[in-house]
């Protein structure tokens, strides 16, 4: 897994020209003793980096390895590192033993992809209006959007639940489409992006008499690829990993996503450690792929919105 991540790395932007402190001191003072100190510093630094890497990454490695063990071996004492016998069939057991697993995978993908599509369209449409068009109450509305972003989600849970209950969309896919068809954080991201592109192209289109939607759809959106990718990837991550909304708005067993399904399975079969671990690996896999493929945009999006 680690190797995979490393290979994608060269893609990363990184115009980081932070001249290292050590390098500068070397230049200024020169001499053997300083160089030895620097070497020592580098070694200490790398040791620290490796310790942190182990600290943050080893639980994942152990999870993957555990998913190939027997459930007894996962929590055996004394512990084993590699499985004494590899059991890839654990992954097949997940499909057969976790009730309705294929349906959960479908639910996760379906809701995630629909919400991503809705946000790509609506967040950019609203963002474009905020960035470029003049209309009444624009500044007020934009200020409201920023201000309401800090309202904690739990305040909305009860009223939204009752509203959706009365609208008969609880326990249906529509619940997610209603709750997440726009997300202010990504409208903000799109607005900021649109403000950064030059107006020349639009000016020409305006002179040609093109309508505003045409300008948005044919001229602006194709330019917005990086921001759309950031919005899409972050929305994908948020929806794929969502647990809270599924447990609140979905009630029937066949309306679980993979996260809720995994938590439910663990609640029922506390000792099936190998299957729990295999399920965890399967639940993280799609998001890991999206993360590796779109890392550049993922990183930038988080840096601008503070969302994950």
């Amino acid at each position: 897994m680690a190797g995979g991540l490393a290979e994608v790395e060269p893609e990363i932007n990184a115009p980081i020209a932070v001249a290292s402190m050590t390098g500068r001191r070397e230049r200024r003072e020169g001499g053997d003793s300083t160089e030895r100190v620097n070497q020592l510093e580098v070694i200490v630094r790398y040791a620290l980096y490796i310790v942190i890497t182990l600290f943050l990454f080893v639980p994942f490695v152990m999870t993957v390895l555990s998913s190939f063990k027997t459930s007894a071996e996962v929590i055996a004492f004394p512990p084993t590192f590699l499985p004494s016998v590899w059991h890839p069939e654990n992954y097949l057991s997940v499909l057969t033993q976790i009730n309705g697993f294929p349906r959960m995978v479908f639910n996760s993908f379906f809701v995630t992809l629909v919400v991503v599509a809705l946000n790509l369209f609506f967040d950019s449409l609203v963002g474009y209006a905020f960035a470029r068009l003049e209309f009444p109450f624009k500044k007020t509305l934009f200020a409201i959007m920023i201000a309401t972003m800090v309202i904690p989600g739990f305040v909305f849970i009860v009223p939204r639940y009752i509203m959706l209950l009365n609208a008969h969309v609880v326990d249906t896919y529509f619940a997610f489409m209603v709750l997440y068809f726009v997300q202010p954080a990504y409208i903000l991201l799109m607005t900021q992006f649109f403000k950064s592109i030059p107006r020349d192209l639009e000016e020409a289109a305006i002179v040609d008499g093109m309508g505003w939607f045409g300008i948005f759809w044919k001229i602006i959106l194709p330019l917005a690829r990086p921001a759309l990718l950031a919005t899409g990837i972050l929305t994908f991550a948020g929806m794929w990993n969502n647990f809270l909304d599924w447990i609140i708005y979905m009630q029937s067993p066949n309306m679980q996503n993979i996260q809720l399904g995994l938590a439910t399975f663990r609640g029922a079969y506390q000792n099936q450690w190998n299957l729990i671990m295999a399920g965890a690996v399967l639940a993280i896999l799609p998001i890991l792929i999206v993360y590796i493929a779109g890392q550049r945009y993922f990183v930038r999006g988080i840096a601008t919105t503070g969302m994950k």
Binding site: A6, E9, I16, V18, A19, S20, M21, R24, R45, I52, T53, L56, F57, P59, F60, T63, I75, P78, P79, F122, L125, V126, A129, L133, E134, F135, L141, I144, V150, I151, P152, F154, F156, I157, V158, P159, I162, M163, F181, I206, W212, A237, N241, F243, I247, I248, Q259, L260, A263, R266, A280, A283, I284, I287, L288, Y291, Q295, V299, A303, T304
Partner: protein, 314 residues
């Protein structure tokens, strides 16, 4: 009519130019603008504004999802919170949790970002691997840490390697359960904030460091007298996002301990959920709890802004 140039004085800004060129088309622009923001306006009016007003309304009523009549009770739901033992326990747990997690995850994230903000070889590899805890879902992380905290799980195995032999069941211990969840969340959230700090660090002009380096300032001195003051806005952002997130801690407590043992990990969010679904007729209480929680979060965010903004003037 669209293209006819209005004989007005040419405006200086691009916007002005376009306006005068387009003349009457400003109406079309206004119409398009309103149409384009309509989705957000609908979201705001129904799912934010109406929901918020409704939340207050419910909190003033004895609300039962199954009842036809929900009598007005004034502030009783709020008054009861002050003597409700569960709420007080949950509030204490949540506050304790938030204080520890916000401080430690911010410090840890800053440390990670400072370490990555250098020319070291393999920097991108380290960044990717360090970030991994942040991409996993709360459920996946909970599953992993159920295994980590198992009496013969990863943590005790590692402790055994260094000579500390224990079979402590952390999640079944009233002493350890809450700290265990704190640790897990610092571990997951710090890498997200690391990315935000890293982006901000890369925006600091390098000349500032050059100058201080000539002055002979030590690395630690540079960190505290240059980096941290310059990062103040982003520190504020990280602390507020931390406060907002931590006070709403739900998933991990729900999945791993269900608030136990003996309510040691009962959080306000968990209590809101229980009052909404587990009991009948406590929906109004759930709303009151959520509003109190919201007000606390809001107040703390304001306070943290004040503290961080006015702290240092070098």
């Amino acid at each position: 009519m669209a293209v006819s140039v209005a004989p007005q004085a040419p405006a200086a800004t691009a916007k002005g130019t376009r306006r005068s060129k387009r003349g009457g088309m400003a109406i079309a622009e206004r119409r398009a603008g309103l149409l384009f923001v309509a989705p957000y306006l609908a979201f705001f009016l129904i799912l934010q504004l109406a929901a918020l007003v409704f939340a207050f309304w419910v909190s003033f009523h004895h609300y039962d999802l199954l009842a036809l009549d929900n009598p007005f009770v004034g502030l009783r739901n709020y008054a009861r919170l002050t003597i409700n033992e569960d709420f007080l326990i949950a509030m204490r747990n949540t506050t304790e949790y938030a204080i520890v997690v916000v401080i430690l995850q911010t410090v840890f994230a800053l440390l990670l970002a400072v370490l990555l903000d250098s020319k070291i070889k393999g920097r991108n590899f380290f960044r990717s691997t360090w970030y991994t805890p942040s991409i996993a879902s709360s459920v996946v992380i909970s599953m992993i840490f159920l295994y980590v905290y198992h009496p013969t799980g990863l943590l005790n195995s590692i402790l055994g390697l260094v000579g500390i032999h224990t079979t402590e069941a952390y999640l079944q211990s009233t002493t350890w359960a809450l700290p265990a969840i704190m640790f897990l969340n610092i571990w997951t959230t710090a890498p997200t904030f690391m990315l935000m700090f890293l982006a901000a660090l890369q925006d600091i002009p390098k000349e500032i460091y050059e100058a201080s380096s000539v002055d002979g300032a030590s690395a630690a001195r540079r960190l505290f007298s240059i980096t941290i003051p310059l990062l103040r806005p982003i520190i504020f952002l990280v602390v507020s996002l931390g406060i907002i997130g931590c006070f709403q801690i739900f998933d991990q407590a729900f999945i791993m301990t269900h608030g136990g043992p003996l309510k040691a990990t009962l959080t306000v969010a968990l209590l809101i959920y229980q009052n909404l679904f587990n009991d009948t007729g406590t929906v109004g209480v759930a709303c009151a709890e959520a509003i109190v929680l919201g007000v606390i979060i809001f107040a703390l965010t304001l306070i943290s802004r004040r503290v961080i903004d006015t702290k240092i003037e070098y």
